[in-house]
């Protein structure tokens, strides 16, 4: 198929940047979206032009690096990661607009690459267990019901790609932060630091400049891993009970 691409080009974080149009032809519908961009970049390199920069790593939907805002939606028309999106989701003659995630807390570094280290700092603020929980436990040794373990695993599906922030009209990081708080708050190993974790991670999320939540549900609808906004309600509960009962005055 033949396509017209409108791609955000920006030399560096100080540059203003603009959408630039490219024509691309002979694209197979079996290609992934990133492979299609690889083809474009080869053509650009041969012409001596600067290839389009974009983030990617595993290309199998598990690392969370790929991050393109395609035709008005994070990761494009399907609820999956950009690397798992295939050209069969498009048709011959389509005009496809490709933009970076847009958020104050995700500054553009170059073209479609954004700096998501704000997410790392939220994790660093408390998204870990620092008490000794011993070695790998034997099966069924830890008293926890399957349904709770499932909820924790569902939250742990989050790959930190930032599609929730990209989708949210407020560029809010609440879905991400709530998943990271939930996956530990639900498990016995997470109890010791439960309160301080909720307080610190929410504080860091605010300090990074992400917006607040208006409960639009856009994050959940666009999340490639189907993280539910019930996690946001859980984070709110965790935060309020921590604020009300922690020793942290």
């Amino acid at each position: 198929m033949n396509l017209t691409l409108k791609i955000w080009r920006q030399k560096n974080s100080a540059d203003k940047g603009a959408l630039k149009e490219y024509k691309i032809s002979n694209i197979s519908e079996d290609m992934s979206f990133l492979e299609m961009l690889d083809v474009l970049n080869e053509e650009l390199s041969e012409k001596g032009e600067d290839p389009v920069h974009f983030d990617h790593d595993c290309r199998e939907g598990i690392c969370g690096m790929c991050s393109l805002y395609i035709d008005g939606k994070p990761h494009g028309p399907q609820q999956t990661t950009t690397c798992q999106l295939h050209m069969r989701s498009f048709k011959d003659g389509d005009v496809i607009t490709i933009e970076p995630w847009r958020a104050k807390s995700f500054p553009v570094l170059k073209d479609l690459v954004v700096d998501r280290s704000s997410f790392d700092r939220i994790i660093q603020a408390g998204g870990y267990v620092s008490v000794n929980t011993g070695g790998v436990p034997d099966a069924n040794e830890i008293p926890i019901s399957k349904s709770i373990a499932d909820l924790a695993m569902d939250a742990a599906q989050c790959i930190g790609c930032g599609a929730c922030v990209a989708a949210c009209k407020n560029a809010s990081a609440m879905l991400f932060t709530s998943a990271k708080i939930s996956q530990l708050a639900l498990l016995p190993q997470g109890q010791v630091e439960r309160k301080v974790r909720a307080e610190k991670m929410v504080a860091q999320m605010d300090a990074e400049g992400f917006g607040a939540c208006t409960n639009t549900g856009a994050c959940e609808a666009e999340c490639p891993k189907g993280i539910s906004i019930t996690n946001i309600a859980r984070m709110n509960r965790e935060y309020f009970s921590a604020i009300a009962s922690s020793d942290n005055v």
Partner: protein, 227 residues
């Protein structure tokens, strides 16, 4: 910073204030509507005027009414703080955005809807609250007792087609605000549960249609009674 001021400057703390004040205002709407419906009693305004006098003289209602003004103020102030923060969190807009495929219009426009409701509230308070409290009000007497004829003021306002239209349209915007706000407040408070959330959403939708519709019915009926 103390833990209280720290909480109130956090996004979650501010959202709780929005949710609590919003839910209080929802409760207030029900009480207010129950009172207003007496405007439609076919007794020339007697029961409404007596009710209005009772409200004005009851010390408990006076306290609640001050609280109500405070809650509106808190709701508005924090809506400005949050909406401003939310706008600043995305300094560069997308060239193409298909947000209508992932979220409801009302949920994305609570600030605009709220601003329209605020304008309505100011006109509404100027026309009724202020007039009744500080303006010159005609008197009506029932069983030898004198009452402010609030009914006459309302009936007079609702004889103006423009005022009626403004009132009805504003209730439409209130309906949209509530269509998202009702259930949203529960989610903000962390009250999300597989058993109850679907029910809350249904009740919220019903509430957001029924209550504004009944509010809008009153000026419409009074306008046509006047013709």
């Amino acid at each position: 910073m103390s833990w209280v001021s720290k909480t109130l400057s956090s996004t979650l703390g501010q959202k709780v204030l929005m949710a609590l004040t919003g839910l209080f205002l929802i409760l207030f709407l029900v009480v207010h509507l129950a009172g207003n419906l007496q405007l439609l009693f076919p007794d020339g305004g007697e029961s409404f005027n007596k009710y209005a006098a009772n409200m004005a003289n009851n010390p408990l209602i006076r306290v609640v009414s001050i609280g109500n003004f405070a809650f509106i103020l808190i709701h508005v102030i924090y809506s400005i703080i949050l909406t401003k923060r939310n706008k600043q969190s995305r300094p560069v807009a997308y060239a193409v955005s298909k947000s209508s495929t992932n979220s409801a219009w009302a949920s994305r426009n609570m600030g605009i809807l709220g601003t329209i409701i605020l304008i309505f509230l100011l006109v509404h308070l100027k026309g009724f609250y202020y007039e009744v409290k500080f303006g010159s009000v005609p008197m009506a007497s029932y069983d030898g007792e004198e009452y402010k004829d609030v009914f006459a003021i309302v009936a007079n306002a609702y004889s103006n087609i423009l005022y009626v239209a403004f009132y009805v349209v504003s209730m439409g915007f209130l309906a949209f605000h509530l269509s998202h706000g009702f259930a949203s407040a529960f989610q903000t408070l962390g009250l999300n549960h597989v058993k109850y959330s679907p029910l809350i959403r249904k009740v919220g939708l019903g509430f957001s249609i029924l209550i504004p519709a009944l509010f809008a019915l009153i000026p419409l009926v009074m306008f046509f009674q006047n013709q």
